[in-house]
């Protein structure tokens, strides 16, 4: 059967959209790669009740294609739908540093997922580092799990702009205050203008080098801190692979949408982190608005809420940028691409050979050619070649077996 709406991603945006759409009588399929719905944010919470929605879990969507009546969504099975909503969220953006590939170094989102979704304690003693307000809930989550959080290191410095933006979103302000109180009560220092610039250990992290940073993130005044776990996050990278496959327009690292979540391609909607909105509340609003682009008119209240959260997201972006000084944390031997073990030296050699852009560096030195297809190093490689990071086209949003791929020869199916 052909669904009215296929939703890819069962996080806050996708769940909201699926629920609202089903309530309005649409035939809805909701697909998610993981075995449980909820996405990164709602991991570990009770699964929501979704009546009238065909929930397909463990479905890793590797490609979407236009078809005559809409779209084909390819996972282990193929789902067809008249309209597609992509709500595939984001993953942590990380900058490389010496030792960042040692076990025990986790992304901030990964550390949180291990506690909230998997109910494990990721380590005994942790340092949380990176940039952005997300570091605070991660540190609190680790504390709640019984991890001794030794320091929280914010590479940027608080800006008046951010304070102003927070003040306009009381719920966010309250949240931040709550986290700060919780950290203070546990005597966890929160240091701005600091970063983990190296991790040390043989088979696993045993300690880190912490440095003070200039406003441009050049390190000075180093010291070491013992820990077995590091959680690092320098913002987020929207997972726009499926949207790029369909040719949707992007701006920076996210997909362009109008006020009802419509992308530049007819019939393709996007909501949540893929649109550049930050956080679950914005994702929920956008999930609901996406349905209104199909049925009825969007309530002005939702549109206003969305505009407010967008402004907040923009303030976040401007207040917590990744500044170029991180390059000084690297040595020639530092691995930049974890998959293909491409060092800074190898990238510099490729540039010396005439590679002037990220694509040519990739062709000559292989960063981004491995299993993750540049998801972890793409940002760094672009910056190291003097370019703005841009989403890469990936014909396979997930790797699939050759055997599974053979099922898509349409001559066979005919």
């Amino acid at each position: 059967m052909t669904y009215d709406l296929a939703v890819v991603g069962a996080g806050p945006a996708g769940l909201t959209a699926a629920r609202v759409a089903a309530a309005r009588g649409l035939r809805v399929a909701l697909l998610d790669a993981y075995a449980k719905p909820g996405g990164q944010f709602l991991r570990g919470t009770a699964p929501p009740r979704l009546t009238g929605v065909d929930v397909m879990l463990g479905q890793r969507v590797w490609a979407v294609e236009k078809s005559s009546g809409g779209f084909r969504v390819h996972a282990s099975a193929t789902t067809t739908a008249a309209t597609l909503l992509v709500a595939t969220g984001a993953h942590d953006r990380v900058v490389p540093f010496p030792g960042w590939d040692l076990p025990g170094v986790l992304t901030a989102g990964g550390a949180q997922a291990l506690v909230k979704g998997e109910r494990i304690r990721p380590g005994e003693e942790a340092v949380v580092a990176g940039t952005g307000p997300f570091l605070l809930p991660v540190a609190v989550t680790l504390l709640d799990a019984g991890v001794r959080v030794k320091e929280v290191l914010e590479a940027n410095r608080p800006s008046p702009r951010m304070a102003a933006a927070l003040a306009r979103v009381p719920s966010k302000a309250g949240e931040a205050l709550g986290y700060a109180r919780r950290l203070a009560a546990a005597r966890v220092p929160y240091r701005t203008g600091h970063a983990v610039v190296a991790a040390h250990g043989e088979d696993s992290v045993e300690g880190v080098t912490v440095a003070r940073l200039t406003p441009g993130w050049r390190p000075y005044a180093w010291r070491t801190v013992d820990c077995d776990t590091v959680a690092v996050g320098y913002g987020f990278t929207p997972q726009v692979d499926l949207l790029l496959q369909l040719g949707c327009a992007v701006e920076g690292d996210h997909v362009v949408t109008d006020d009802r979540q419509r992308t530049s391609v007819d019939g393709v909607l996007a909501a949540g982190e893929v649109t550049g909105v930050a956080g679950a509340p914005g994702a929920v609003v956008e999930g609901a608005l996406a349905v209104h682009s199909l049925v009825g008119e969007p309530p002005p209240r939702l549109l206003a809420e969305k505009a407010r959260l967008r402004r907040f997201a923009r303030a976040l972006d401007l207040s917590y940028p990744v500044r170029d000084g991180w390059r000084d944390w690297l040595t020639p031997d530092t691995v930049v691409c974890r998959c293909e073990e491409v060092t800074l030296r190898a990238i510099d050699e490729a540039r010396d050979l005439g590679a002037h852009d990220p694509r040519t560096v990739k062709l000559l030195a292989r960063p981004g050619m491995g299993w993750c297809q540049g998801r972890m190093c793409g940002h760094a490689v672009a910056r190291l070649t003097g370019h703005e990071p841009a989403p890469q086209k990936r014909p396979f949003a997930q790797p699939i077996t050759l055997a599974d791929l053979t099922l898509h020869d349409r001559e066979d199916n005919a």
């Binding site: 050979l353 040519t360 491995g370 898509h408 066979d412």
Partner: protein, 383 residues
């Protein structure tokens, strides 16, 4: 030199060594076109007897020399293995190899004037492999094949690195900008108008790949023929040792069909991935992904190497092969404008044929006699 792909880089290398100062102009930089989308094949096995085979044999020797004197581009003299599914196909394949061997000898001995038809630098080596011995070459190859032929001269390089290394080693200047048109004075080309101003030169070489036919002052019938490559996950030890392909590949390469053709062409890379080709489609400059074609490539690959079945593909990409109506490269002086030379139209064989192409162009610019007879490649043949 218009174009910083493998042909432009090879020409720059050969010319600079011959004492010609070269500036290379490419809007995308080194290896940004077809060179960046291929497997790096250096094949004699798939060449029908004729001028292209002679060029391929000469190029094969030159690649071995380049690997010694330049290197740094993952030169792998791995050899090719062509397999046949049925006894009938094996017979045809064996007969084909015999014509390859015979032709090469004939080219050396005459009938032409030995002064104007220099001997090809080598002869094709092709060794029959019985069905029962295929696993000596490829331990993971499928059951039930009728046999094959081993071509020890077939080799592989990492094409992007090869272009970049040759260009770097040449010492030629690379200018990253678009070429708008040739500068022409009377009946001669005097340089290039580029996005960064005019460049004046005693000679201009058109190595612009799929765009080489599009200069209005000296058009050529060169068009793109699209091909996909599937890239598997990396292996610690890849399950494919040679370049392995089925006999159908040879007929597809020579075919004039407009529609989609596919045949299994499989090889590993130094990085541990397995590359799976090959498809041919004439759809202009469109490089969009076509999943049914990828599915067919996957099925053919599993047919040859069942061990790949449960392994994963990470990536796929399309490239455009610049082809001419008779499937021969276009090499030599333009028939309309003096001081303009073409080095293009190599279809899917550009990596393999680049050094011999460069040698030919260098000889022609210097007014010397090329090692391989240039007449069959003359640009004027389409006029």
């Amino acid at each position: 030199m218009v174009g910083a792909g493998i042909v432009g880089a090879s020409c720059a290398y050969a010319l600079m060594r011959a004492g010609v100062r070269v500036t290379v102009v490419d809007r995308g930089g080194v290896a940004s076109g077809t060179t960046g989308a291929g497997e790096g094949n250096i094949l004699v096995s798939d060449k029908e007897p004729g001028p292209e085979l002679e060029l391929a044999l000469r190029s094969n020797d030159l690649w071995r020399e380049l690997a010694e004197e330049c290197g740094g581009f993952e030169w792998e003299p791995k050899g090719g293995l062509v397999v046949a599914e049925t006894p009938e196909v094996l017979d045809a394949l064996t007969a084909f190899a015999e014509t390859q061997r015979r032709h090469t000898r004939a080219a050396g001995a005459g009938p032409g004037d030995p002064e104007t038809t220099p001997p090809a630098s080598g002869a094709v080596a092709a060794v029959p492999v019985a069905a029962g011995n295929l696993r000596d070459f490829e331990p993971h190859i499928a059951d039930g094949l009728a046999g094959g032929l081993h071509y020890p001269q077939d080799a592989q390089v990492q094409p992007m690195l090869a272009a970049a290394r040759l260009l770097k080693a040449s010492g030629a200047r690379l200018v990253r900008t678009a070429v708008e048109r040739f500068l022409v004075s009377g009946d001669r080309v005097t340089g290039l108008r580029t996005g960064q101003g005019d460049l004046h030169a005693d000679a201009v070489v058109n190595a612009a790949g799929t765009w080489a036919g599009n200069f209005p002052q000296a058009p050529l019938p060169i068009r793109p023929r699209k091909g996909f490559i599937l890239v598997t996950q990396p292996f610690a030890v890849p399950p494919v040792r040679h370049k392995v392909y089925t006999a159908a590949y040879v007929t597809n390469v020579a075919s004039d069909a407009e529609g989609l053709e596919t045949s299994a062409v499989i090889e590993s890379t130094r990085a541990g991935t397995v590359l799976i080709g090959a498809s041919r489609q004439r759809v202009g400059h469109d490089t969009a992904i076509d999943y049914p074609v990828l599915a067919r490539l996957a099925r053919q690959a599993i047919g040859l190497f069942p061990v790949l079945k449960d392994r994963q593909v990470m990536r796929a990409y399309a490239g455009l092969r610049p082809y001419s109506p008779d499937h021969l490269p276009v090499i030599g002086p333009d028939h309309r404008l003096r001081n303009l030379f073409h080095a293009c139209g190599h279809e899917g064989a550009g990596i393999g044929l680049a050094p011999a192409t460069a040698e030919m162009i260098t000889a022609q610019i210097a007014g010397a006699r090329p090692a391989v007879d240039p007449a069959p490649f003359a640009p004027g043949r389409f006029a």
